[in-house]
C-alpha cells in the first residue's frame, strides 16, 4: 500500500512539474533589470490590490459593529446606509476627490486629474510608488470610505437618510481630499514633515471631527438622557456581531497599515504588521483594565473599542516606532478611549458607537505619539520628518504633529459643522420622533432588518397587542 501511494505521489509531482519544465524550455531565463523590475511591479501591484481589498472589507466590519451597537429596529437602516455610502463615496472620489487629494496643484488642494484622467505624473502626491494609477485609486478610495464610515457611527438611529447622502458627497468630494492633500498630496503639512503614515489624522481624526460636528447639531437619541440630564445606557442588541465587526476591522488593518507602503518589494510590511497587531492587543488590555477599575466588570463593547482606538493610534506611527513603543501607544489609546467616552456621555453628546473617543482621541494620541516614539533609523528609512522626543529629536516633530492635529481637526470640524448647519436649517437632520421610536428600518426603508422576529412581536402573540395575525402567518413566522 505504501509503495502504491509513493508511486501515485511521484506521478502527480511529475505531472505538476511538466508544464513548468516545458515553459522553462521555451522562455529564456529571467535576466536583466527590465524583467526583474516588471516582476517587482507585478508583486507591488498585487500587494496594493490585496491591501485595498482588505481595507474595503473594513466596511463589513463597520456594518457589523454598528449593527451590533444599534437596537433591532434600526439595523436595516445601518446596512442600507453603509451600502449607499460605498456607492456615493466611490463615484464622487473617482470624479473629483482623488484629483483634489493627489493631483498636482498648490499647497492647499490638487487641481489636476479629475475623473481619473491623469497619468502617473498628474498624481504627483503618489509619484513615490510605481504601481498603476488604477491600483493607487482603488487603495485610496477604500481609505476615503473608511473615513466616511466613521462619521456615521455617532449619528446612528436618528438621522435622515438624505442627510447621509448629501454629506457623503461633500465629505468624499471636498473635505477629506483637502486634508489628504495637506498631508499626503504634497500640501503644506507634508512640507513641514508631518508624520501620518496611514492616516491617524487624515482618515480617523477627520472622520471623528465630522462626526462630532454632526452629533452636536443632531442631538441625542430619544431617551438617552433622563429629565435630570443624566445619561442612560442604550445597549446595542447584539454583542457578538459588534465583536465580529471589531475583528473584521482588525483584520482589515492588515491592509490599512502595511498596505500604505503601496509596494511590497523592499518594504518593511512585516514590521508594520507587527507594530499594528501589538498595539491592538495592548489596546484591548488597556480598555479592559479601565472597565474593571471603573465599573468592576469587563465591558465587551469597550474592549472592542479599545482595540479600535489602539489601531487608530498606531496608524500614524506604525512605520516609525519600535514594537515596545507600539504596545505603549496601544495601551494608552485604550485607556484614553475609555476615559473620553465617559466624558463625552456626560457632556450631552450621544455617540452610540464611541467613534469620537476611539477614532478622534485615538487619532490625536496616535499622531502625537509619532512625535514622541519615532526612532531615528525608521525615520531615515521612511524619509519623513524627524525622530521623536524620546530619541533626542527635540520638540520639533512633536510640534509639527500638534500643528497638523489642530489644522486638520479644526478645518474638518468647521466645514462639517457648516454643512450640517445648512442641512439642519433647510431639510432637518433628524427623522420625526414617531419614526425614531418606531425604528428607522420601517420609516426610512420600508422593511425590518429582522423581519420574522419583529413581525411576530407586532402581531398578537401574548405581547398584549390587539392586532390580528394576518392569514397565513403564525406567531413563529409565515406558515408553510
Amino acid at each position: 500500500m505504501r509503495r502504491f501511494l509513493l508511486l501515485v505521489m511521484t506521478a502527480l509531482l511529475m505531472i505538476a512539474a511538466l508544464p513548468a519544465a516545458a515553459f522553462a524550455q521555451e522562455t529564456p531565463v529571467v535576466q536583466g533589470t527590465e524583467t526583474l523590475a516588471d516582476v517587482a511591479l507585478a508583486v507591488d501591484t498585487m500587494w496594493v490590490i490585496v491591501a485595498a481589498l482588505l481595507v474595503l472589507f473594513m466596511q463589513a466590519g463597520f456594518a457589523m459593529l454598528e449593527v451590533g451597537f444599534s437596537r433591532m429596529k434600526n439595523v436595516g437602516s445601518v446596512v442600507a446606509k453603509i451600502l449607499a455610502m460605498m456607492g456615493i463615496g466611490i463615484v464622487v472620489f473617482w470624479a473629483v476627490g482623488f484629483a483634489f487629494t493627489f493631483g498636482a496643484g498648490n499647497a492647499i488642494i490638487g487641481t489636476q486629474g479629475f475623473f481619473l484622467s491623469g497619468d502617473e505624473a498628474t498624481y504627483a502626491g503618489l509619484s513615490w510608488t510605481a504601481v498603476p494609477v488604477s491600483a493607487k485609486f482603488l487603495f485610496q478610495v477604500a481609505f476615503a470610505l473608511v473615513s466616511l464610515a466613521i462619521v456615521w457611527g455617532t449619528m446612528l438611529e436618528r438621522t435622515k437618510f438624505a442627510v447621509y447622502c448629501i454629506f457623503a458627497v461633500v465629505f468624499a468630494g471636498l473635505i477629506y481630499p483637502i486634508v489628504g492633500h495637506w498631508i499626503w498630496g504634497g500640501g503644506w503639512l507634508s512640507e513641514f514633515g508631518m508624520q501620518d503614515f496611514a492616516g491617524s489624522t487624515v482618515v480617523h481624526l477627520s472622520g471623528a471631527m465630522a462626526a462630532l460636528a454632526g452629533t452636536l447639531l443632531l442631538g441625542p437619541r430619544i431617551g438617552k438622557y433622563d429629565d435630570a440630564g443624566n445619561p442612560q445606557t442604550i445597549p446595542g442588541h447584539n454583542m457578538p456581531l459588534a465583536v465580529l465587526g471589531v475583528i473584521i476591522l482588525w483584520v482589515g488593518w492588515w491592509g490599512f497599515n502595511p498596505g500604505s507602503t503601496m509596494a511590497a518589494v523592499g518594504q518593511s510590511i512585516g514590521d508594520i504588521a507587527l507594530t499594528t497587531n501589538l498595539a491592538a492587543g495592548a489596546g484591548v488590555l488597556g480598555a479592559m483594565i479601565m472597565s474593571y477599575l471603573v465599573k468592576r466588570n469587563i465591558d465587551v463593547g469597550m474592549a472592542g473599542n479599545g482595540a479600535i482606538a489602539a489601531l487608530v493610534a498606531i496608524t500614524a506611527a506604525c512605520a516609525f516606532v519600535a514594537p515596545w513603543a507600539a504596545i505603549v501607544i496601544g495601551f494608552i489609546a485604550g485607556v484614553i478611549m475609555y476615559t473620553v467616552l465617559l466624558l463625552v456621555d456626560k457632556i450631552g453628546v450621544d455617540d452610540p458607537l464611541g467613534a469620537i473617543a476611539a477614532h478622534g482621541m485615538g487619532g490625536i494620541w496616535g499622531t502625537l505619539s509619532t512625535g514622541l516614539f519615532a526612532t531615528p533609523e525608521l525615520v531615515e528609512a521612511t524619509g519623513f520628518g524627524q525622530p521623536g522626543l524620546l530619541y533626542g529629536g527635540g520638540f520639533g516633530q512633536l510640534g509639527v504633529q500638534a500643528l497638523g492635529i489642530v489644522a486638520c481637526g479644526g478645518f474638518v470640524f468647521v466645514t462639517s459643522y457648516a454643512v450640517f448647519a445648512v442641512l439642519k436649517a433647510t431639510i432637518g437632520l433628524r427623522v420625526k420622533p414617531e419614526h425614531e421610536l418606531d425604528g428607522l428600518d420601517i420609516s426610512e426603508h420600508g422593511v425590518y432588518g429582522y423581519s420574522e422576529q419583529l413581525i411576530a412581536t407586532d402581531y398578537q402573540n401574548g405581547s398584549g397587542s390587539s392586532m390580528p395575525i394576518p392569514e397565513g402567518r403564525t406567531t413563529q413566522g409565515t406558515a408553510s
Binding site: G219, I222, G223, T426, G428, P433
Partner: protein, 93 residues
Amino acid sequence: MEQRLLAQGTGTNNTINVYPDRVEIRTGWDNENANSLGLKQIANVSIRGLVNCTLTIEVNDGRRLNVERMALPDARQVKAAIEAQKQKAGLYE
C-alpha cells in the same frame, strides 16, 4: 385620547407633538412622560434661531416652555400647526 398627529419635532431630550386639540411635550426613555397643554392654554408660540432653534410656548398662567435645539423646518411646522388650530377654533382674536 389618541388623535391625528398634525406636526412634531425633536429638541434636546424632549419631543413636541401637536394634535388637533392639544400640544404634548414628551420626555423619557420611550417618550412616556407627557406634559399636555390644551390649545386654550397657549397664549403665544415663537421661534428663535436659525440652526439650533428654540421653540417657546407661552402659557396663559405665565409659564414659558422651551423646546431647545430644534431644526428650523420642524419648529416652523409645529408653530404653524398650533397657530392654524387656534385660528380654526377661533381662539385668536
